[in-house]
Symmetry: C2
Subunit: 346 residues, 2 copies
Amino acid sequence: MPQSLSPRTANYHIIPPRAPRGALTLIDRHQPGLPEQRMKRIKTAIVGLGKIARDQHIPSIAASDAFELVAVASPHSTLEGVPCFKNIEALLQAVPDVSAIALCTTPQVRYELARRALEQGCHVLLEKPPGATISEVQALVDLAEQKGVALFASWHSRCAPAVEPARAWLATRKISSVSVVWKEDVRVWHPGQHWIWKGGGLGVFDPGINALSILTRIIPGRLLLLEAELSYPSNCETPIAARLLLADSRRTPIRVELDFRQAGPQSWDIDIDTNDGRLSLAMGGSVMRINGQAVATQDSHEYPLLYAHFATLVRERRIDVDLAPFQLVADALMCGRHVTVEPFED
Amino acid sequence: MPQSLSPRTANYHIIPPRAPRGALTLIDRHQPGLPEQRMKRIKTAIVGLGKIARDQHIPSIAASDAFELVAVASPHSTLEGVPCFKNIEALLQAVPDVSAIALCTTPQVRYELARRALEQGCHVLLEKPPGATISEVQALVDLAEQKGVALFASWHSRCAPAVEPARAWLATRKISSVSVVWKEDVRVWHPGQHWIWKGGGLGVFDPGINALSILTRIIPGRLLLLEAELSYPSNCETPIAARLLLADSRRTPIRVELDFRQAGPQSWDIDIDTNDGRLSLAMGGSVMRINGQAVATQDSHEYPLLYAHFATLVRERRIDVDLAPFQLVADALMCGRHVTVEPFED
């Protein structure tokens, strides 16, 4: 019954004019099933109503033809026009037909909520980092497998428009060295986010893991952490800055500088020297240059692309959990030299 | 040609009178091949000539019919009666037919040495912990697979005599709670071992990982770290004490107390309450009691059993790398709350 498709639902089957190509696409041309099944939106709830939920998840769900936001849970905040609950338990009781849950809480509480959602048979999207520990995410994978539902440990920076073109370009070149500079003013980007300074909050690795998620996508093979120097403010449990030395499987040196004490504009830059010149990614993977020449890329649609990929995972009841970026952070925190620096006051 | 077997070589095919049963056995009754092949010893080198090499590895190799010690490498120490080299490079050049290498260095330098040995086509035994990071051990697994050689990330405490009996007993019971107390005087057990206080040295997790290696062997399913409180001396990069809350897949609470500040005798105890009473392991898995009644176990042969298992891995060119204990430590260090305590002076 194609005539029953609303224009918006119909869009679900059309590539948006400027959609990036690559691993993630906004559509699935070959989706099986009847038109009625195709147009059914995935009833979705957001748990955790902080900055990232409001800035990215809510607009992306609103713009998506695959999802509809049916509820939110947050202990202190509400969202106009959507049923709001204090916690996931109340949400699941009041809205038993919720099918997918996007977990936008702080990482420290993500595991218990994800577990509860999976036990209820919901598909789950995890914001980055996917938890406070590696083992708990592995346990979620086990549970999602048992329940036959989708689980997506999302890395939004991997959906930045220059990432897939960079990956393709690098696949046929020999990399000789890599330099990452990821510096931002924590007071601008994480105002009042005290959780970031508590164990499990990752400190400067909270943004730094975005760089690692790009590196682990575009550089072939496994990356290895060789050295780490971690600067801990005397009053914090997590580092405010870090210098890492990584290597790829060919022992190419990869130097990473992370700093939360940047004044002025942020630097989210990756420079990769190869036998064929230098590839530069700037602005968190949004801009690509080869030997200084800009390469045209699509506009940025990180979260819409995440949700498009999540829609595919839900349809196919698949699990997409790549722990490589998180493991590198765990490794740095485990083996790093510590430097104590001045206390941080927000 | 059975008459050519020396009594010692012949023992290789006989269960020693008090050998423990379980996952690891000192023999392989079904080993194929001619007697000449069977009696060939594996030419073995030790790299890193510290306390654990002298206390355990050298006597275990000397007592083994599967291995013979042909060289050692150490920058500062030598061993009488065995060719000694300053480093692994010199050793590999001078003794090109070395077949297996036991890495008994501090964990911080283990990866590069293991990589070099594997690249040379040697089988490798890693002391615990198997490295300074998880990723580097995963990279060693990749390399061992490529080279078709054996790689063994050893956990000596799993060879303690009560471990396999405890595992068997627990397999048919329902566990309700677990308590681990692992406390020792660091000045007695790790005199002058400054590496333990540096990043990658793990601090109190260096002994504590022995308890975790037993727990992850005897409790069915995956263990999860839920909470950690880490006590860092103000002058150290690694914790001197830790309190952990773990859970198994049924959410059974597992409380772990680790402390390096024990005065007097060490406590290496695990108590497990079940629907059928309490199982207690004492003395690091050497002693087993059920409801207070001692259960007879074999004498302790931890390192001989490790080497027997390594011999099997070498023969079959297999990899045995279980990262579960190490991952729990990484998780604790990543998500733990920090407490600063008084400086540690050795």
